[in-house]
């Protein structure tokens, strides 16, 4: 089998499928199943918080919220930047896309840095009862997704410099920015659950 896509005759191409959007379909299905892992963690967190006899470990008053708030603002705005990057790409303005994309990556990296600073200042650890475990699991798992997102963006950025692959890159960019919006929405829920809910309870 040495045939490539370009060699194939175009007859009998099904009329109702206009492009090979199955890549994007597959990615959206993947995101749906990913969101269920997070849903499982959120439900677990909420149930444990409601039912646990002891929640905060001894000597811990609560979480510091200033840094996470800055982080939230940065991450949410980076989602808009990613959207503009995609817009530039659709208008075939490659340099605009690259600049915006780089800005998104920088904001994501700042978010990871912020989380690192926050983690290193915390007075409890993974094994400090149920609170420590849930806190580190939720923020850590989300942070892993942010790092993955930044790596994927780097891949798309590198791809945009390769000739002849512009259109494929565009599909990937749509997928990665969807991923980024997804990570963003997950963070908002996480922020409400972990940082806002602790104050009201």
């Amino acid at each position: 089998m040495t045939s490539t896509n370009a060699d194939l005759p175009l007859k009998h191409v099904p009329g109702h499928i206009k492009h090979d959007g199955h890549n994007l379909t597959g990615f959206i299905i993947f995101l749906c199943s990913e969101s269920i892992i997070f849903l499982a963690f959120f439900v677990g967190y909420s149930l444990l918080k409601i039912t646990s006899p002891e929640w905060l470990p001894e000597g811990v008053e609560g979480l510091e919220t200033r840094m996470p708030l800055i982080n939230t603002v940065i991450l949410v705005s980076s989602s808009f930047v990613a959207y503009f990057a995609e817009r530039y790409l659709h208008k075939e303005n490659l340099w605009g896309f690259r600049a915006m994309w780089l800005l998104t990556m920088a904001m994501g990296s700042y978010f990871v840095y912020g989380q690192y600073v926050e983690w290193s200042e915390l007075a409890f650890s993974l094994s400090s009862g149920v609170f420590g475990g849930t806190f580190y699991l939720l923020t850590g798992f989300h942070g892993l997704h942010v790092i993955t997102g930044i790596l994927l963006m780097g891949l798309m950025l590198a791809r945009s410099f390769r000739p002849n692959n512009y259109a494929k890159g565009e599909m990937g960019v749509t997928a990665v920015s969807l991923f980024w919006h997804f990570v963003d929405v997950i963070w908002i829920i996480l922020y409400l659950l972990i940082y806002v809910w602790q104050r009201t309870s």
Partner: protein
Amino acid sequence: MTTTKYDPRVLKAPHPVPGAPDNWKRFFSFNTDAKVIGIQYIGLALFFLLVGGLLAMVMRGELITPPADLVDPSVYNGLYTMHGTVMLFLFLFPVLNGFNNLLIPTMIGAPDMAFPKLNAAAFWLVPVFAFVLLSSFFVPGGPASSGWWSYPPVSIQNPLGHLINGEFLWILAVAISGVSSIMGAINFVTTIIRMRAPGMGFFKMPVFVWTAWAAQTLQLIGLPALTGGAIMLLFDLSFGTSFFRPEGGGDPVLYQHFFWFYSHPAVYVMVLPVFGIFSELITVYSRKPLFGYKFVALASFIITFLGLIVWVHHMFYTGTPQWMRNLVMITTMLIAVPTGVKVFAWLGTLWGAKIRLTTPMLFVLGGLVNFIFGGITGVMLGTVPIDIHVGNTYFVVAHFHYIIFNTIGFGIFAGIYHWFPKFTGRMYYEGLGKIHFTLTFIGATLNWLPLHWAGLYGMPRRVASYDPEFALWNVIASIGAFMLGVASIPFILNIVSSWARGAKAPANPWRAIGLEWLLPSPPPAENFEDDIPTVISEPYGYGLGKPLVEDEEFYVRRSMEA
């Protein structure tokens, strides 16, 4: 190779890896052809059926006498844990993924899966996690022995203090299996949604494709929840967290919710494709259109939906409040409605038909009888009072083996025989097949029917020794189990010898209707290549005289010439 320029008008799966071998060696290579991957899955799964069966043989050997004399009780715990895990994760899921790979692209007229490389990667994760799982026999402390459900706090005890222990490897293996299944599910669902042949609307898809779609949707919804739970369990076991550890404020019952939210629907993941196989085969061998096709197709998704909201019936006796038990009891019993729709549709198809009793049809009919029996005990177990009475007895074991082996296993054998000529290009030996069926049916009945009574009289499960009053039931059950072991001999003989030297199979040996039967046997690498047929009528038009696709003669002639 010319440079590949992206052309959005071409609907074509990426071509196989260049240089992939084209002989038997391809079944041992990273091949991206869905048909090769399907056979890889089925072959590997059948190997692990033998492994899991061997573990079961040791268990039945132990249970043939009341005291625990053959193996140590702690070894017995490891045996039933590994038997369950091997059978579910290394036999049933892979074998059904094999069917999905063989049948979905050929049945919907797609050249291949939507993501061929992802497909091959998903397959090659199976041997990886098989290795991880089975290597647990050789670590200090032995394999995981807290059952395939792995409930905390039993499963998060780590008495030896090693990081790498049987339980750790078990969770790791299940996690890799989950990744592999999710990759498969994304692939199957995308393929079904996006790559159907022109003219094939959803209500022109064969029922197998419907059921596979419904089952893979369940995988996508349920499996991530189990993965979430498994990550927490792994952290509890190895890194000192307390999600499920009561002394740290955690909740062991929460794990049961995560576990059963997936593991109850997992039964439907396995049984739904078998319903599809039943529907395909019953129409072919009774030569009638499927009675109530649209209802049978839609019932798959109703089962999917109901399957997702009934998991609490596994937890009737773990402190579940009464109102929730009642609610779950009702929804559990409701599943009998869409299931009954399917059963009556099959009976309606069989009604007054001239039935050909070939080996696959015998397996279907045997499986159907067993399924009706297992379904009834399922409704019984769904009611709170009966479940509380017999929940931890052999009645449950008998019930789920009636579903998992006597229905799903039979359906898998039926499917293997039915599509064997199509995908290997050789006919199997009918006589050996019938010997296999007879031994399997008698063995399975002897094995699990008596255990219903043993359970009702109160024989507990998961124990190596039991009260002598249950001895007779267990002797009969063990004889049945050994008979099932013997039944694998004609099966293996049949598969190996017919594949090597069987008669060449024609393109359509059963005179069946369906896109896969318009292909030569075995189908070429990219199925229809660029001549994808246009579907014009519903499937299962037996006796109606309507062509399935436009210009059907062309495809029939081509499949004959090849």
